[in-house]
């Protein structure tokens, strides 16, 4: 019996659960325009996992990277949820570098 997959599955469920929290909080304070940076962090996390020899650490970095990429695609919808009153709305956001350029790009949404 190999319980590695089961426990990494449980750990991934927590990482995905954390994703709900940081998407909601992150969008409220920082806004959805951070999405390219979040995608970048996710890609870096997955690429970094390839150079970690420990299976647990590599597996968790990969799951974290995927969760970050997914979360970046949720930021735009979360911004709308705040604007229409489903979540507390904070008008003053801490915007990222190049936010004026990013605003012209189509934010990913799945």
């Amino acid at each position: 019996m190999n319980s590695f997959g089961f426990w990494i599955g449980i750990a991934t469920l927590f990482i995905i659960g954390l994703g709900f929290i940081w998407v909601i909080r992150g969008e409220r304070y920082f806004g959805y325009l951070w999405w390219p940076y979040v995608i970048g962090a996710g890609i870096l996390s997955i690429l970094g996992s390839m150079f970690v020899s420990n299976h647990w650490a590599s597996g968790l970095l990969g799951a974290l990277g995927a969760s970050l990429i997914w979360g970046s695609t949720e930021l735009k919808e979360q911004a709308v949820r705040g604007e229409i009153g489903w979540y507390p709305f904070r008008g003053k956001k801490i915007l990222p570098l190049f936010s004026d350029v990013i605003r012209k790009w189509k934010a990913p949404s799945l």
Binding site: M1, N2, S3, F4, G5, F6, W7, I8, G9, I10, T12, L13, I15, I16, Y32, S45, I46, G48, S49, M50, F51, V52, S53, H55, S58, G59, L60, L61, G62, A63, G65, A66, S67, I69, W70, K76, E77, A79, V80, R81, G82, E83, I84, G85, W86, F89, G91, A107, L110
Partner: protein
């Protein structure tokens, strides 16, 4: 230095698992009349993947099955959570689905209107704007 593919594999399984739970659950819930069928299917698939993760000696395969199994087990609850969103009007109901038609008749806030089908504008909507938006004026 050896390349470890464990992280890439868990990333693929996580992304696919979340996609299944997010996009396909919404679509299946929208079309299915009897929610027990997809709920039980997700439960059975989840148990199947978890069993496979215990039985394989390959660590990468075990991790991928473990992640997919856990997300599928979560999805079996997610069908009912999606139905609750329909009742609250947070997800659009499908008039052609008799279960949704019943929800629309019983829950005044349930709607076929998709509130999220728009881009963020940077400011909160007033109640008047929300009413006119729902009425299709905006």
């Amino acid at each position: 230095m050896d390349i470890n593919l464990m992280g890439v594999s868990t990333a693929l399984a996580t992304f696919f698992g979340v996609w299944l739970g997010h996009v396909s659950v919404r679509k299946i819930e929208r079309e299915t009349v009897n929610l027990r069928i997809p709920t039980l299917a997700a439960l059975a698939l989840g148990i199947g993947f978890e069993t496979a993760s215990f039985l394989t000696s390959n660590l990468i395969l075990s991790a991928m099955c473990g992640i997919l199994g856990v997300t599928l087990l979560w999805d079996s609850f997610e069908f009912h959570r999606q139905q609750k969103r329909i009742k609250r009007g947070h997800a659009p109901a499908n008039l052609n689905n008799p279960r949704h038609a019943k929800i629309l008749a019983e829950y005044p806030v349930a709607t076929t209107f998709d509130w999220l089908n728009r881009s963020p504008r940077g400011s909160a909507y007033s109640s008047d704007e929300l009413v006119s938006m729902k009425d299709g004026k905006k």
